[in-house]
């Protein structure tokens, strides 16, 4: 015997087909912020010779294969440098794996990296560990890629927002909760601020960007930021999003929101950025040139050849057109005891990226070139690597 199933729902078949179609089409686009992929176009300008030689681009080439990994903050910069270097120097292969500063340092201390990229200088215990890979030397911090941390906001009708360290810290700490707060009004005379609640957006994942922003709060407005600087967000309240791209997307999506990310994300998503009232003649905008001027205030705190920077003077600077919320990322290599087979290429590549030509590339990607005084020390240090 056979049970009769109810029929007559034929119209639903069309619905099922439509659902299938919708599912198939539900692919999502994602923003690619890098825009460039390393290409290995063979260069004819340099004969395939071993050892070093000079070429038209002014790069003194070396050959071989280099492994490196680390900070994603400098990923775009390194990718464009690697592309240029490999185009000019045939026979050189440089792999930079953008994992994270933490992983880069672990890789470096395991001896798998010729150099690592990091958002923060080595900690003392990491320096101690590096002695096992750097025969007769230690790992040192070489500042290389600087940049402004932009504070983006979404406030329709307001395109020229000025804040200072204290109000920023209070906003991100939840102490200022509406856009028409007295403290914000005082910094923006004549601007019609809405009474919307402020949605502050921070990073959900641990990140060097968070670390550097909270260093700035701690340095420039210690009274308003009761937490230690850290890679993990310490304050209560606000919303969290994954990675800089996630923060930028959420700010773009949410009216009344404010968040922080590298300048390139603000440019790519056309998010207006906050100008900082530092006490200088005019509020300072987040631009690469202004960030370079901010970094120029920094002091070297490492003992030579280590060039770890102390940015506290940059955080509190009152110099005109010096943007105070800056971060500097480092390349980490051994001062002595680099592996013999990669030393030549490491030195050659680092020399190129620290050169004027290399640093000039940074501006296009939203980074800030190193100020001259620091760049000079960096080049001296690189030449002395052994």
């Amino acid at each position: 015997m056979k049970l009769q199933r109810k029929s007559g729902l034929r119209a639903l078949t069309v619905g099922a087909v439509a659902i299938t179609g919708a599912l198939v089409l539900s692919a999502c686009g994602s923003d690619d912020n890098s825009g460039s992929t390393p290409s290995n176009s063979a260069s004819s300008s340099n004969s395939a010779s071993s050892g070093t030689g000079s070429n038209a681009a002014g790069i003194s080439c070396a050959t071989g294969k280099l492994l490196s990994s680390g900070s994603t903050a400098q990923q775009n910069a390194i990718e464009s440098w690697v592309k240029d270097y490999q185009q000019a120097c045939s026979g050189a292969t440089i792999n930079y794996k953008p994992s994270s500063s933490g992983e880069g340092i672990i890789d470096f201390n395991n001896g798998t990296d010729a150099f690592a990229g990091s958002d923060s200088p080595l900690k003392p215990e990491e320096v101690a560990k590096s002695k096992s890979v750097c025969t007769g030397g230690t790992g040192i911090n070489i500042p290389m890629v600087g940049g402004p941390i932009a504070v983006g906001y979404n406030l329709p009708g307001v395109n020229n927002l000025v804040l200072n360290a204290s109000t920023l810290a209070k906003i991100f700490n939840g102490k200022i909760s509406t856009w028409n707060d007295q403290a914000i009004k005082a910094l923006n005379p004549g601007v019609n601020l809405p009474s919307t609640k402020i949605q502050s957006v921070h990073r959900q994942d641990d990140s060097g960007t968070t670390d550097n922003l909270t260093k700035y709060f701690k340095g420039a407005a210690p009274a308003d930021w009761p937490y230690e600087h850290a890679k993990a967000w310490a304050a209560k309240g606000g919303q969290a999003a994954a990675k800089s791209a996630g923060v930028a997307a959420l700010v773009k999506q949410t009216e009344g929101s404010i968040g922080y990310f590298e300048l390139s994300y603000a440019t790519a998503s056309q998010i207006p950025t906050v100008k900082i009232n530092t006490g200088a003649a005019a509020p300072v905008e987040a631009t690469t040139a202004n960030a370079s001027a901010g970094i120029a205030q920094a002091k070297v705190k490492g003992t030579a050849p280590d060039l770890a920077l102390d940015l506290s003077a940059a955080y509190t600077t009152k110099a005109d057109n010096a943007y105070p919320i800056v971060l500097v990322t480092y390349e980490i290599a051994c001062d002595k005891g680099n592996k013999a087979d990669t030393l030549a290429l490491t030195k050659s590549f680092l020399n190129y990226i620290a050169s004027d030509a290399g640093q000039a590339k940074l501006t296009d990607a939203g980074y800030a070139p190193l100020p001259t005084a620091i760049a000079t020390q960096v080049r001296t240090t690189i030449s002395a690597l052994s």
């Binding site: 999502c28 994992s99 500063s101 672990i106 959900q204 641990d206 993990a232 997307a249």
Partner: protein, 328 residues
């Protein structure tokens, strides 16, 4: 051939089976035994690795590992705990189950008992497609589509059910990146597993049971209630547990949608909280060796929770077996 006098009651066929042994038998038996042992060794190695690293991290924790909200192993002294993570994992999974299980059973019954055969096939196929979508795609869809579109739902819940406290939203303007949204997303993700397994189980209900019920004058609903559901109950529970397993461990979709923060709140519409796997993916990248050990400790807790859930499910199924006739 045994030389000692065998007891006279030894069954004859058994002895015959034992005497015939060709190389193929021995090789196959060895391989099977080897596979079994290998599995045990791998499991023991994983458990040992997790336990050793977890214990070394927990012993240096300056907070209470079970009750601390924050996850800050990089501070000096390190303080980290799983309270928020355990709560968020359980709550988001419970929401997902509450939504997914009834719908999944409904779909399974529709396909097997209500839909015309020509429609049942395509629907089952679409459900299978849902299972094939990678979780990061669900995450992107959740963050870019579901979150903005759930705003209205959130406001409505807040307006009419805010008095329950659970559905009270502290800041009505905040985006819907909450445990509630995560629960809805997880429900969609576990729907295909529960539906498919339930459908298989329901298909195995003996036709005679249904026909007997019909013969007694039962309506279609009564047939389902009296003969289909009791028989399929243990299978549906197993299906739900499979789904729950996926919901508990889901990583990328949660990490993309949830606004994580170390706050434990019963208000499920507030953008706070966290889950074990979301926390691991957010913290692993920048963690140093000690931070990784701490994350491994949290992973071990998730492992234990999953074991407990599975054990409980097995007990329920065991107890139901006699009534359902599923062991027939």
């Amino acid at each position: 051939m045994t030389t000692t006098a065998p007891p006279p009651t030894t069954p004859e066929p058994h002895r015959v089976a034992r005497t015939v042994s060709r190389p193929g038998d021995r090789i196959f038996a060895g391989m099977a035994r080897g596979s079994g042992i290998l599995l045990l060794i791998v499991m023991a190695a994983i458990a040992l690795f997790l336990t050793v690293r977890a214990v070394s991290a927990i012993s240096k924790d300056h907070g209470n590992f079970l009750t601390t909200f924050e996850w800050t192993p990089s501070l000096n002294p390190p303080v980290f705990g799983i309270a928020v993570l355990a709560y968020g994992t359980v709550v988001s999974s419970v929401i997902a189950m509450a939504i997914a299980v009834p719908i999944a059973i409904g779909i399974a019954l529709f396909i097997t008992h209500y839909a015309p055969r020509r429609l049942g096939g395509p629907i089952a196929y679409v459900i299978d497609l849902l299972a094939a979508v990678p979780s990061i795609v669900y995450g992107l869809w959740g963050a870019l589509f579901l979150v903005p579109h759930l705003r209205g739902v959130n406001l409505w819940l807040d307006d009419y059910f805010g008095w329950t406290y659970i559905f009270h939203k502290q800041d009505p303007n905040s985006a819907a990146r909450s445990l509630f949204t995560v629960g809805i997303l997880l429900a969609i993700m576990i729907l295909p597993i529960i539906t498919n397994v339930s459908r298989e189980v329901i298909n195995q209900v003996p036709k005679m049971h249904e026909e007997a019920a019909l013969a007694l004058g039962a309506t279609r609903w009564e047939v389902i209630r009296l003969s289909v559901l009791p028989f399929a109950r243990s299978g549906i529970i197993s299906a739900s547990m499979l789904g729950l397993g996926r919901a508990l461990g889901e990583t990328m979709a949660v990490a993309t949608v949830l606004s994580a923060s170390p706050v434990l709140s019963a208000r499920i519409l507030d953008p706070v909280g966290g889950t074990f796997s979301q926390n691991i993916v957010a913290k692993f990248g920048e963690a140093d060796d000690f931070g990784r050990d701490a994350l491994i400790a949290s992973g071990l807790v998730l492992f234990l929770i999953t074991l407990l859930v599975n054990g409980a499910a097995r007990m329920i199924i065991q107890r139901r077996k006699e009534y359902s006739g599923a062991n027939a």
